[in-house]
Every structure is written in C-alpha cells, then in structure tokens.
Amino acid sequence: MTPSPLLSTLIPLIPLAAMAWPLHRIIHQEAFQQKPEIEVKRSPTRRADVSLRAAHPFLEVNVTIGEANWSFASDESLKEIYFPLDDSGNLVLAVNATWPKGTPESALFVEFMPDELETRNHTVWGLEEITEEVEFHWDLTP
C-alpha cells in the first residue's frame, strides 16, 4: 500500500517542522546585551606576623578574619598572614583558644604586627575554651 500523495509530501516536512521553533529562537533572538559589570571593591591585602604568648600550654588557637582562618598548633607561636584592610583601618578578628582539661583560667596574649603599621595586641582570658571577637584600628591617613 502506498501512502496518499498528500501524506508522502508531508512526511519529509516533519523534521523541518520539528526544527521550526528552535530555528525561530535562533533567528529572532535579541541582540546580546552585556550586563554592566558589578565593580567588586577589594580591600588591599597586607602582610602581618601574628604571635601568641600563652600563660599555659594550649591545645589549639584559631585566628579568623572574615572567611580566612589560621590555626596554631600547640607548638606554634608565630604565623605570617595576609589579610585585607580597607581605608577605614578597622579590622575584626575572632580568636578561639582551647586548653587541655584541668587547665586553670588562663591568658593568651595575641600580638598583631602588620607591615608598616603599629603593633596591636589583645589578651584573651578563658577556661578550657573561649572565642572572643577583637577589634583593631589603625589610622591610615597619610
């Protein structure tokens, strides 16, 4: 049985019909417009030495600035870090310290020594574990 002349004409057109909508999208697509770039303002990065002096041996100390974290093992007392500091000269860091069980209330002296800026320090007092937020400020006006 042979198909009718109409059917035999329409069958080859089926793939073309299937492509019609995608072709329409391609031909009539809107001119590509570049979205305006969002300017990401990055704070200048500075180098600093962070040193710890502990009254009692600690298990671990973590210093966190934003999403960056520096972990001091029990035998470490100095780390070189790179941190962002914007024009305000304000820096917030979190200090978390843990001491072995049975350690009496203890002090941890944290010294922050950024290149070409004055040293800032803070003493964290804690019993077994403490997290403290510390704010430092430098006057960056030339």
Binding site: D49, S77, E80, E116
Partner: protein, 289 residues
C-alpha cells in the same frame, strides 16, 4: 641555572654568603644566621652611618653575598646605585621595611638640621625601639630561609631565641625607665635620632640639631634651642658618641643645663644589646638626678 649552581657552591663551601651595611644589623644577622652564614660586615663599628658610601673595594667584597642587608628607612641613600651594580644572584633586604615609619613632627622637636632631614621626613633610627628590632629579626629570618631553605629550621630556632632576648631587653628598658619620675622623662639630645625611643618608652623629645649628626647650626637655630631649654627648664642634655660635641656644649653652657654621658645614636657599635643598655643606663643616670 648559573645562579643555582653559584648558590650551591657558596652554600657548600662555608655557609650562605651575606653582607651587612650597618653594624647593628650585622649583629642581628649573626644571631639569626648562626654558623650557617658567612657575613661580610661592610658597615663597621665606628662608621658614620649618615655619611657612609660603599667604596669600590666594598662592592668587590660583597660580590659573593647572596643577600646584602641594609637598615632601610632611607638611612642608605646609595641603595639605588648599589642595586644597579649587583649581579643576578644578589638581593638587597632592607630589614627595617616592616617597621612603622615615624615622621619628624613639629610637636616636640627643634629643627636645625640639614635639608634632607627636614620636617616631615622619615626618621631612619628605628632600632631604638627594641620591639621594632624584633620585626627586623623576622625579616632577616625569612630572607635567610628563602636563600637557604635547608637551614629554615635553624634560622627559625635562632630567630626565636633572638626574639626572646629582645623581649627580655624590652622589659629591662621599661623597668629602668620606670625609675625616672614621669615629669622628668624629657630627652634632649643632639640630633633627632631618638624619636622611636621616646615614643616607645614615654619620653618627650627635644633634638637641638635635628636629624643630622654633623653639627652645623646657624646662630638663629642656636638661639631658638637655648630659648626652648630655658623655657622648659631642662636640667640635662645628652651628647652623642660620634657627633660634634661643641654645639651642644655651647647650648648647655648658655642655657644653664648640665651635660650627661653621651648616647649612642646611630648604632655604630658591634652589639645591639650593649648599645641599648648603655644608652638606657646613661639616660636613667642623667634624668634621675
């Protein structure tokens, strides 16, 4: 490849070759480097640190040095020229580079110096704050470890020991200063070399000859100094080792102030600790009277 080969040869022969342009820096580099380094002390005790210029023979002596340690903060104005004459394997490390610069301010000083050290200039005498020397130790440790990675642990241990000594020295200085009544903590010296010391240890500073140790003061500047000393009833002035004592003597005579034992301002000595201790002892003796 050539530089690497050179580095290996210099390391295996007699340790890492370095040079130093300032005697105090030589002392500290020796403390951190220990027996892993061989140092050429171009700047020797007794040198005039403000006038020193390396001679061609000094440049030749430094030819093998991988690192040339300088004090920085503008103390060595010839560093630019020296850099031009270095070979590919050599670097200059300014050990005072991480120290916060202190500018010459108009609040507490009398200016009668050379144009190079005018108001607003950076005071290069950063070593008079013991805690700043601690920063220098870390700069030296890092530079040595980068040039000689195999010695990293040694440099770290030596650096830790040097910092511990400096912390002890800093505590000693503070303890000595505490014996001087607060109202008497006013340091009058020849040239403006003690700004960092005064800020760190709580002294008011008056420098009758500005920053330079040369001692050339005009009559107007001399009169201004005498007027200030009289007005502030300064009991004692401190001359400096290696500085012309004539002007200060004249100022002291005309203002009726006593002359104390001299201070070591420019660090032109072999031992940093001895210099700090000698200065502090002289200051305490002079001001406690």
């Amino acid at each position: 490849m050539k530089a690497l080969l050179f580095a290996l040869l210099t390391l295996t022969a007699h340790g890492l070759d370095v040079a130093s342009l300032h005697p105090l820096i030589t002392d500290i580099v020796n403390q951190v480097g220990g027996n892993r380094i061989s140092i050429v002390p171009v700047g020797k005790p007794g040198m005039d640190v403000h006038q020193f210029q390396p001679k061609p023979s000094d440049v030749r002596d430094m030819a093998k040095a991988r690192i040339i340690f300088a004090s920085g903060k503008g103390l060595e104005p010839y560093l630019g020229d020296l850099k031009d004459s270095l070979q590919a394997h050599q670097i200059i490390v300014e050990v005072g580079r991480t120290v916060p610069s202190q500018k010459v301010s108009s609040d507490d000083q009398i200016y009668s110096c050379c144009p190079n050290h005018a108001l607003g200039g950076i005071d290069p005498h950063w070593w008079h704050n013991v805690r700043y020397m601690e920063r220098a130790v870390r700069v030296i440790e890092k530079a040595l470890a980068e040039a000689d990675p195999a010695g990293k642990a040694t440099y770290a241990a030596n650096s830790k020991a040097a910092v511990a000594r400096l912390l002890q020295l800093d505590r000693w200085v503070k303890g000595q200063v505490a014996t001087i009544p607060k109202a008497k903590r006013h340091l009058v010296s020849s040239h403006a070399a003690f700004g960092y010391f005064c800020k760190a240890y709580g002294f008011k500073a008056t420098f009758v000859q500005g920053l330079s140790a040369e001692g050339e003061v005009s009559a107007a500047q001399l009169a201004e100094s005498i007027k200030t000393l009289r007005a502030e009833r300064i009991p004692v002035v401190f001359p400096e080792v290696n500085a012309n004592p004539k002007v200060l003597g004249q100022i002291a005579k005309q203002s009726g102030t006593a002359i104390a034992n001299p201070l070591i301002a420019d660090g032109s000595v072999a031992s940093y600790q001895n210099m700090m201790m000698a200065n502090v002892k002289n200051i305490v003796t002079g001001l406690r009277k």
